[in-house]
């Protein structure tokens, strides 16, 4: 894929190169070692072309390959020279870029003839070779320092038990020089190791067998492998790919394009950087700088890269890697791939759970508190209803005599009417008119008696209080019926004054009547004990509408009134001015009134001598349930 891409680019380059006659377009050519398609050359070309065209898209970039001088068979160099002379006759280049020492050698041999006066940017040449070249006119470039020694020391650091180093190398004269350089560096940097020499272009099949049976604690190093013993060009990554599955020892190579095929890694040289550096220098010359004035540069072209699969395979712990190392081919765990997502999601989950927990806890607490409050409230209501009921029963008990009196009247009417009717019937002729009238009176009396019993039953009935909007006048009138006899027996005038406004209040009818009954009977008690003369014995019940949208009753008696001491204590339970009586009436009345949202307050009469009790409820302005 990579090679295919490189060929495509190359084709494009050659095409644009063919149009190089256009004098206005700058034109450069990159000369690389034969054969085309080596990954190393492709990397350099990619880096070079990319940087150049990014800076100036009009530059025409050509590329060509020269065979390495030392590889040439007799007559080859001359034939190549002739071919280049013919090929580039009439074409013009602004800069000539040469990658590698052998191509540089070849180009220098042809320069005067083929590319006279064209500035040269050389690249990928080690400082020693550059120095050996001596001064060359119109030439600059970027140098490359081999990282073999540095990398071997690193390899030994990664695998401290290493005792053997197997050097794999090619067979060509160029290979031979690389091999001897490598041996030299091995000796210098990791001289203690035992060298296993696998150079000389051993064919891959054979080499595969050899690397499978290496002694323990061996590392395999491929520095350069250009041609095998049969003269076939070899690409390093093909060698690595072939050896890696069979090898019983880790394989090291230090070119970036070998990464992924089976090498462990190290400080890898990035040839695209070499291409970029050459492009930078080229651009400077194209802008008019003299190449002679630009000293050769020596850029950093390496970075630490490792193949995670190989580290695993050879049990190399990650903590032995130099700081800043890049680990490639590591399968991303979910954690590594989505670490922040996972952290955020988990944090959000925890936060949410916590919030839910807190809310639930609070809700439960609130519910418990609420439940307790409700229970207490229910209990209080139940108690109040219970006490109110007892109070009503007690009241009726005390009213017993007057209720009997109240009932005896219609009963007397019924009996006398019935007996009179009998007499009228037995007359000759029977007086049917009187009989009919008697029967009608009996019916009315019976209804009256039934009504009294109904009221009594309501008073003693137990039940939950049920507030309804009700006409205050009607309700007050009704309760008077139960009290009239009592007043009469006591010799007290019971007067009722109804407001013409016909107010409506929201109350439980029975409990309201109970309050009025308590207040009236208190008033009557006060009068009875005061010994007032007949003409000054009265209780006045008034229905009232106040200015502040409150309505209720005021009960005024003609008794002795309330002393400040009594006023202060009057609503206390069991507080009583009476000789007999529990002293619960007013206390209960107040709790009833307040449970209806009303208020009850005592005072002394403005016009008379006695006390007056005011009961007020919020006035209702809505539809009314009568009765």
């Amino acid at each position: 894929m990579r090679r295919y891409l490189a060929l495509l680019i190359l084709a494009g380059v050659l095409i644009s190169g063919a149009g190089g006659e256009n004098a206005r377009r700058k034109s450069v050519i990159l000369i690389m070692p034969d054969p085309p398609g080596r990954p190393i050359s492709t990397s350099v070309l990619e880096g070079f072309q990319h940087s150049l065209l990014m800076a100036d898209p009009t530059i025409a970039v050509s590329a060509d390959y020269v065979s390495q001088k030392s590889q040439a068979r007799p007559g080859y160099a001359e034939a190549q020279h002739d071919w280049f002379r013919t090929k580039y006759r009439g074409s013009h280049f602004d800069v000539l870029v040469v990658f590698g020492l052998q191509p540089l050698d070849a180009v220098m041999g042809m320069r005067e003839d083929v590319w006279p006066d064209v500035p040269i940017v050389m690249t990928g040449v080690n400082p020693a070779s550059y120095k050996a070249l001596g001064h060359q006119p119109m030439m600059t470039g970027s140098l490359i320092t081999t990282k073999l020694g540095e990398n071997l020391q690193l390899a030994v650091k990664l695998l401290p038990d290493t005792r053997h180093i197997a050097l794999v190398g090619g067979a060509s004269p160029a290979d031979a020089s690389y091999n001897s350089l490598a041996r030299e560096i091995i000796h210098e940097s990791v001289g203690k190791l035992d060298l296993i020499d696998l150079t000389g272009g051993i064919p891959l099949d054979e080499l595969r067998k050899r690397v499978a049976v290496l002694p323990p604690h061996t590392i395999v190093v491929i520095f350069a492998y250009l041609y095998d013993s049969a003269g076939r060009p070899m690409f390093v990554h093909d060698v690595v790919s072939a050896l890696s599955p069979a090898a019983n020892a880790p394989i090291f190579n230090f070119e970036d394009y070998g990464m992924g095929d089976g090498i462990v890694g190290g400080k890898l040289t990035h040839y695209s950087i070499i291409g970029q550096t050459a492009a930078d220098l080229t651009l400077r010359i194209l802008k008019g700088e003299s190449p002679s004035s630009i000293p050769p540069i020596n850029p950093e072209t390496g970075s630490y890269q490792f193949d995670w699969r190989q580290l695993r395979r050879w049990n190399i712990p990650l903590d032995r890697l130099p700081p800043g190392s890049q680990i490639l081919y590591r399968p991303f765990s979910l954690w590594e791939q989505y670490r922040w997502w996972i952290v955020v999601v988990i944090a959000a989950g925890i936060t949410e759970s916590l919030l839910i927990f807190i809310l639930l806890y609070q809700r439960r607490r609130a519910k418990e508190t609420e439940d307790a409050r409700k229970r207490a409230e229910m209990e209080a209501i139940r108690m109040r209803e219970e006490i109110a009921h007892l109070n009503r029963v007690a009241s009726l008990g005390e009213l017993g005599a007057s209720l009997a009196h109240e009932l005896n009247q219609p009963l007397a009417g019924i009996l006398t009417n019935a007996q009179a009717a009998t007499r009228f019937l037995s007359q000759q002729p029977p007086n049917l008119e009187e009989v009919g009238a008697a029967l009608e009176d009996i019916r009315a009396d019976d209804t009256r008696a039934g009504e009294i019993i109904r009221k009594m039953r309501e008073m003693v009935r137990k039940g939950h209080s049920q507030s309804v909007p009700i006409e205050l006048n009607l309700l007050t009138q009704e309760v008077m019926g139960l009290l009239r006899s009592d007043a009469q027996i006591r010799g007290i005038a019971l007067l009722l004054e109804l407001t013409p406004e016909n107010p409506v209040v929201h109350v439980d009818p029975i409990q309201f009547q109970q309050v009025v009954m308590n207040l009236v009977r208190n008033g009557m008690e006060a009068i009875s004990t005061s010994g007032k003369p007949r003409e000054n014995r009265q209780v006045i019940v008034r229905t009232v509408v106040d200015a502040d949208d409150a309505a209720g009753v005021s009960v005024e008696d003609s008794g002795p009134g309330l002393s400040p001491e009594v006023l202060r204590r009057i609503f206390e339970p069991f507080f009583s001015t009476k000789d007999h009586g529990l002293g619960m009436g007013l206390s209960i009345s107040r709790s009833i009134v307040e449970s209806h949202g009303g208020r009850i307050f005592p005072g002394n009469s403005q016009t008379g001598t006695g006390a007056v009790f005011h009961v007020r409820f919020p006035l209702v302005r809505e539809e009314v349930v009568t009765g």
């Binding site: 005896n408 007397a412 009417g413 006398t416 007996q419 009469q488």
Partner: protein, 116 residues
């Protein structure tokens, strides 16, 4: 007859009419005492618990006016008056409502036939 209760007034009047008596009714003692024609009346039936002045007070007033017409007291109250109180008011007879017609008429005739 003086009674503040309409049921009793109606029933008792009808009973008396059925026996051929003429009846005049009053609903309060005060009203009764204001009546100028009391002299022609043979018997007073007076309820003890009246709205204003009580039946006993009415009787005492009659006594003060030296009207010696016989009285029959009636009451709806359960507690009977003491005989002394009744006698002091001018009559030993007090019927508790509801009373039987025959008993009432017997007492009425006794009163009519009495010393007055």
């Amino acid at each position: 007859m003086v009674d503040d209760d309409p049921s009793v007034r109606k029933g008792l009047s009808r009973l008396l009419r059925s026996e051929g008596f003429g009846v005049v009714t009053f609903s309060s003692g005060e009203e009764f005492l204001r009546e100028p024609g009391l002299c022609g009346i043979r018997c007073f039936v007076i309820d003890i618990q009246l709205g204003g002045m009580s039946g006993l007070e009415v009787a005492r007033t009659l006594k003060e006016r030296e009207i010696r017409t016989p009285c029959i007291f009636i009451t709806a109250h359960d507690e009977a008056m003491t005989r002394d109180a009744l006698l002091a008011a001018g009559s030993p007879t007090c019927l508790r409502k509801p009373f039987d017609a025959d008993e009432f008429l017997r007492n009425l005739r006794l009163a009519l036939a009495g010393p007055g």
